[in-house]
């Protein structure tokens, strides 16, 4: 009984573990909440919690400093996707004011084994991503708004995530020192 030639690819497995775990989470949420809107909200909130921690990993690994402008931010977000999910979304559709852009995903590891049943058209399956972005940006004093405009799970050609700069967060005055 030799098992040469068959060896598990550790990186691939841990990626599948992530994908499937996320799937199990969404399934559980759908069971717990009747309403797809509530599931979206919950996913976004979890993403936020992840984002505020993940930014530390990102800064520690890349050693990148402050962003010069929002275009710089866009590129850094792009590189974060490369590091954490191994994908490179393209940056497109800049608004004339330069405060809004889109991230377009050709492939998305989160949806690798996923098909949406017809009765879940309101569900934003990947809604954890906007949350992650919002949380991470907040930790570097930027308030952004994020939402999906296209979704491959809903038969669009690409998945498009829109990111909008809302405002710069100022350093808060420590409590009791006003």
């Amino acid at each position: 009984m030799s098992r040469t030639g068959t060896k598990l690819d550790a990186k691939k497995v841990s990626s599948e573990l992530f994908t499937l775990t996320y799937g199990a989470l969404v399934a559980q949420l759908l069971q717990d909440y009747e309403n797809a809107e509530d599931v979206n909200k919950q996913l976004e909130r979890m993403g936020y919690n992840i984002g505020i921690r993940l930014i530390e990993d990102f800064l520690a690994r890349t050693g990148s400093g402050r962003c010069y402008d929002f275009r710089d931010t866009a590129e850094k977000i792009q590189s974060a996707f490369k590091i954490f999910l191994g994908i490179t979304p393209s940056i497109t559709n800049w608004s004339p004011a330069g405060d809004e852009f889109s991230l377009c995903f050709e492939t998305n590891p989160l949806t690798e084994f996923v098909e949406l049943p017809d009765n879940y058209t309101n569900l934003k399956y990947c809604n954890i991503l906007p949350g992650v972005l919002r949380g991470a940006c907040e930790m570097v004093q930027m308030e952004v708004a994020c939402w999906f405009v296209q979704d491959q799970l809903k038969n669009d050609n690409v998945t498009e995530l829109r990111v909008k700069f809302v405002k710069r967060l100022e350093d808060a005055i420590p409590a009791g020192e006003d």
């Binding site: 009984m1 098992r3 068959t6 060896k7 598990l8 690819d9 550790a10 990186k11 691939k12 497995v13 841990s14 990626s15 599948e16 573990l17 992530f18 994908t19 499937l20 775990t21 996320y22 799937g23 199990a24 989470l25 399934a27 559980q28 949420l29 717990d32 919950q42 979890m46 919690n49 992840i50 921690r53 993940l54 990993d57 690994r61 490369k82 590091i83 954490f84 999910l85 191994g86 994908i87 492939t107 998305n108 590891p109 690798e112 084994f113």
Partner: protein, 175 residues
């Protein structure tokens, strides 16, 4: 880290590969969520069955993909060995340190530095011992689900006495 970036560039055909820390953060959120949902928690007893169930469904699916090109297992022990070596090292980056069995359907899998506990407590730290079951329920389910898809119906429990080591008890149900 640089190495990884180069690696994934080498095969652009492959779809994205998630970084390890994402799973850890996601797992933390699962635990968070389950705790926030369990309302009538009795003293010291937390309702972790949702977590176990999520682990089960992940295990049930992932083992099917992992063993697709694997040769047939000889017997129950062979399957458990697979779990301890290849399966465990792919998921948690190290093999099970110690496997014991009574040859009557009870297996004890001991991991001396379990990944999900690794950053919680250093050796002999008792501080987070009480919370550690939260971090193990998912993996118990994962084991149970994997074994279920291999045709072994079992119950899996975990115990920790010192962080970050833990023991998983697998009790096979004879039909």
């Amino acid at each position: 880290m640089k190495q990884q970036i180069i690696d994934s560039k080498a095969n652009p055909g492959a779809s994205g590969e998630a970084d390890d820390c994402l799973f850890e953060y996601l797992h933390a959120e699962l635990v968070n969520y389950v705790l926030s949902r369990s309302s009538n928690a009795a003293e010291g007893e937390e309702e972790l069955s949702r977590l176990e169930w999520m682990g089960f469904s992940v295990g049930y699916r992932i083992i099917e993909r992992l063993t697709r090109e694997w040769s047939r297992f000889k017997d129950e022990l062979d399957m458990i060995k697979f779990i301890c070596t290849d399966f465990w090292s792919s998921l948690y980056h190290k093999q099970i340190d110690n496997l014991r069995t009574n040859h009557h359907g009870v297996y004890v899998l001991q991991d001396n530095a379990f990944r999900l506990l690794d950053k919680v407590g250093t050796s002999n730290s008792k501080q987070y011992l009480k919370e550690s079951p939260r971090l193990l329920a998912f993996t118990c389910g994962l084991l149970r689900g994997s074994l279920a898809n291999l045709g072994i119906i079992s119950t899996v429990t975990a115990e920790t006495t010192t962080l970050p080591s833990c023991k998983f008890h697998v009790q096979v149900q004879k039909i």
